[in-house]
Amino acid sequence: MSLDDLYQEIILDHYRSPKNRAPSLEGEDVHVHHSNPLCGDEMDLRLRVADNAVDGLVFDGEGCSISQASASAMTVAVIGRTLDDALDLAEDFRRMMHGEESKRPDDLLDGVAFEGVAKFPVRVKCALLGWMAAKDAIETYLTGERDHEVTHDE
């Protein structure tokens, strides 16, 4: 296992120029705050829903390159999808992080570049932080709640 397996060029691109990274979201419906108790990383995720689909999604926070890049790639893959579809995609990514093959590589877009992270168990949580926050934001929306704070230790 080399460092290149972990830090693919696509990952570094998302890290250096993240997409949908912002401290606020116009018309936000749900805000969730996730943190990783192991490394202290923090992530704020904001979701806006229209027609039962992800209409707007931004993240902000502090974390390593893997967590920041993964959150960035996640937003690109998830925006525009129906809530159910986005949840399904998040589950697909989660399974990929546990060593299974993705069933929806075309939908994960740049998210597939993170497949190699599964070989670095301590970094899996980093890659999952954004995705699990998105899942939580959507589920929070579906229950009608509006704010949620989670310490993420899957």
Partner: protein
């Protein structure tokens, strides 16, 4: 250098291995130290020659095992200048801190009392108190950390001033900043403000790297752990004033720690056995005893001198790298072997991964010191820590890896 590091290195089998095709450079002894051959041999010897339970058998083997176990207590007591019956074996420093919290704090403090601790403590020295506070409702006051990585003792004096502080919990050496705290001075201040104040010191990071005489510090409790002082995992100790231990009820109960048991109740064994319920960590005690011999043979004053030289070189080397800033005291005389730093624009996790590819082991994260991380305004730091088996050859790979991280992760 007064002891030969190259020779000593050979005592530690792990240090001769490679990772990712590179020489292993182990800079994480503040998390756990490597194990020298005499310690491995001592544990192996127990299992191969005298495996039996302690304090029970009337046969030769059991006597030998008991000698190993009690011999380790004697050696550790001598190392820290304490009487043997003031040394209680625990599984680690965390358990030692919990023993104090359960058998002293929870038995003696109430809602009107005050506990004093610091912002630089390891969670092991904070969480048992936070937990006890939930049940007892006492107040906790926090000594702040100054910009230079030292405790603010003027503020400490103010916090002690009303004489209500009955328990002080303070670390001897910070696992993050490296700061060596004047625990004797703090104990004296606390007693002046309230003669009945009890002082508990987390000595986990001190005992491995400098001479420590617990009675001379004038403190009541002193926690330590075996795996950071060349010993095995699974054993630590609480060193305590015997008069205080005598008055304390047990923490864990069961076999070994009783005087008598009837259907009506139980009475407690004398100290220190009262606090060692069940079959103890016998092989680990044998290993710890050998670790104490090993450190004593080198001399902890020599270890300390060696580390100070290394720390001076490491601080200088680190600060030459653009974007690196070191947390904690600059003067090697004021600090131990743990050096936390940040590299601008690069997250500690990424630093750790890059250094790993250079064969360099450092710790990244919050180091179980979240209140301190908040104070420093960071979520995590990278930490390199040196010990008796490190030398100046271990510095270039660290610096090389950091330069690589700086350019690789530049945004």
């Amino acid at each position: 250098m007064s002891f030969d590091v190259q020779t000593r290195k050979k005592d530690f089998p792990t240090l001769s291995r490679e990772v990712h095709g590179r020489r292993l450079v182990y800079l994480d002894s503040a998390a756990t130290s490597q194990t020298p051959l005499p310690v491995l041999d001592a544990m192996d010897g127990y299992y191969r020659t005298c495996r039996s339970n302690v304090h029970r058998g009337v046969y030769q083997l059991a006597e030998e095992a008991t000698d190993l176990y009690e011999g380790a207590r004697r050696k550790l007591a001598a190392l820290v200048g304490a009487p043997e019956h003031g040394v209680v074996f625990t599984k680690n420093a965390t358990e030692a801190c919990n023993l104090v919290a359960y058998s002293w704090v929870r038995r003696n403090l109430g809602p009107d009392d005050v506990v004093l601790t610091t912002h630089m403590e390891h969670h092991a020295n904070i969480v048992p108190l936070l937990h006890a506070r939930e049940d007892l409702g006492f107040e906790i006051r926090w000594i702040p950390v100054r910009e230079d990585g030292q405790l603010d003792l003027e503020e400490a004096a103010r916090l002690l001033d009303d004489g209500r502080v009955r328990f002080v919990a303070v670390g001897h050496v910070s696992n993050v900043l490296g700061t060596i705290n004047d625990v004797a001075g703090i104990a004296a201040m606390a007693r002046e403000a309230n003669p009945d104040c009890i002082v508990h010191v987390d000595g986990t990071q001190a005992v491995p790297q400098m001479p420590v005489d617990v009675p001379a510090l004038g403190v009541d409790f002193y926690a330590l752990t075996g795996h950071k002082m060349c010993g095995p995992t699974g054993i630590g100790a609480l060193v305590a004033r015997p008069e205080l231990l005598e008055q304390m009820p047990p923490f864990l109960t069961g076999g070994e720690m009783i005087l008598d048991v009837t259907t009506e109740g139980a009475t407690w064994a004398p100290i220190p056995g009262r606090f060692e319920a069940g079959t103890p960590m016998i092989a680990e005690a044998a290993g710890l005893g050998a670790a104490v011999d090993y450190l004593t043979e080198i001399g902890l004053d020599e270890v300390r001198a060696h580390e100070q030289q290394l720390v001076a070189a490491f601080l200088e080397g680190l600060e030459r790298i653009e974007g690196v800033s070191v947390h904690g005291p600059r003067d090697p005389a004021l600090r131990g072997g743990a050096i936390s730093f940040k590299l601008d624009g690069v997250h500690p996790h990424d630093i750790g991964a890059m250094l790993d590819s250079y064969g360099v082991c450092v710790r990244v994260g919050h180091h179980c010191t979240k209140p301190l991380m908040r104070h420093l305004g960071v979520n995590a730091t990278a930490r390199a820590s040196v010990y008796l088996y490190n030398d100046l050859d271990d510095l270039p790979p660290l610096l090389e890896g950091l330069e690589a991280a700086a350019s690789f992760f530049a945004r």
